[in-house]
Subunit: 271 residues, 2 copies
């Protein structure tokens, strides 16, 4: 089921600024037993994105009602929300008081091999870089060509690809955030220049705090990944994927990953 | 008149990758006396963009036929072409052999004060920066949030805004390319890290060569603009706008601008 501004439908105007300029935001939520997980966190992130882009945030109760309609009627494994600055006007200038376009899509579960969370995944280092722009860093906006081009670099040889920025700093993977374990400290790249500040990334950091694991946001290079005691990826739909191979090297499995996963699972109350 | 894949219509699927990721390209053409100007140049640029993004370029004859339909029936002042990687599949991974979405829109002339090409324009320096990414530099793709945010910085106090990249280099303006005149040389920022390689920018460089004016593509800073013997902006719809004011400083008018404009006008044969 797809709702566009609350109405069943599957299309937007060709003049929509989401299409013309990528002028908008999105969220992907996991759905389990008919319920969208971590709803409040996603609403908070979208509201923060609206603030950055100067978009009016729709009432979360409206999102909620539409999300429930979209979830209710099928084998729904995920929910995608999109918000754009709406149709027209022509030109880059953002209108005052735009009539935003609000899209809610119920999606079937992703077709992926089972058990990657246990077996671990193989990742490459992408040639495509992330451009640096503090004004957009962290925001889950609709300008995603870099990710598309990076994902186009391989077929099925890898499960994910790690992206560097144009200064050779490691930032994240195409659709997930990246963690590395060094000196028993849980580390993740700081996202002040580029990257998407993931919901699961934040949950993992909180879980680490609760477990008394030291954490650090910092600047890391490929060499740091190669020397790490463990690597893993996170996103809303996969939770945690340990990395077992980085390009042509095997990666050690840190027992910290299991502890974090358990803590995440215990916290899976939609809070 | 709007055509979507050759059919009259005004919408695209919400699953279109142009909307989801900005996964596509666009061109804006000037239309005069029922004819799109510099057609071949726009087709060449779009084909180059397709090459960069790994998109199949539609047959230019098909574009041409649809453009003529869109132009034919109204007071058409401009034509907008868009090409996206089409609807779905889900996820960043670009499909092999995508069914692209081809959009052709006939647009009325832009509503702007007359004579800005003679009187000159006032420009500001935008706070929003352009991120650097060689993989996308020069390409007229659909990821334009930086331009939207930059244009949102002012209302009507200025006609255009100049954008720097994250290294403080001057690149272009939100919707136009930038030229500066120094030591009787026509200079323009090199676009190997970001920016859009404009059709009019190329035509101006060619006109300068034909007139025996020395040219240089280089790296320039705000100070270079402030010390320039003249500044002007170019795009397909405005041709040339001399800059008369840069933020709070007035800018000299170089006689070179008039010569270039004359040469451009003489060359306005759609070549």
């Amino acid at each position: 089921v797809i709702l566009v501004n609350g109405q069943p439908g599957d299309c937007v105007m060709v003049t929509d600024r989401g299409l013309a300029y990528g002028d908008g935001l999105f969220e992907t939520l996991a759905v389990r037993d008919g319920r969208a997980l971590h709803w409040d966190r996603h609403m908070t992130r979208m509201a923060a994105g609206c603030e950055r882009l100067g978009l009016p945030m729709p009432d979360p109760r409206q999102w909620r009602a539409e999300a429930q309609s979209a979830i209710g009627t099928q084998d729904c494994g995920a929910l995608k929300l999109m918000l754009t600055r709406g149709a027209g006007p022509r030109g880059y200038r953002p209108p005052r008081g735009p009539a935003t376009t609000r899209i809610v899509m119920g999606l079937p579960p992703v077709d992926r091999p089972d058990g990657l969370g246990e077996t671990g995944v193989d990742v490459c280092i992408c040639r495509t870089r992330l451009g640096r722009n503090p004004a957009l860093a962290g925001v889950k906006h609709l300008n995603r060509l870099e990710q598309v081009m990076a994902r186009g670099e391989w077929d099925d040889e890898y499960h994910e690809g790690i992206m560097l920025d144009t200064e050779d700093l490691v930032i994240e993977a195409t659709m997930s955030n990246l963690f590395l374990i060094r000196d028993d400290t849980l580390c993740t790249p700081v996202l002040d220049q580029c990257g998407v500040a993931g919901i699961t990334r934040a949950r993992v950091m909180e879980a680490a705090h609760a477990l008394g694991i030291p954490t650090r946001e910092g600047r890391f290079r490929v060499r740091d990944l190669q020397e790490a005691e463990g690597l893993f990826l996170t996103n809303t739909l996969i939770d945690i994927w340990p990395v077992r191979r980085l390009a042509d090297r095997s990666v050690p499995v840190s027992p910290m990953v299991g502890r974090l996963r358990e803590a995440l699972t215990r916290g899976e109350d939609g809070a």
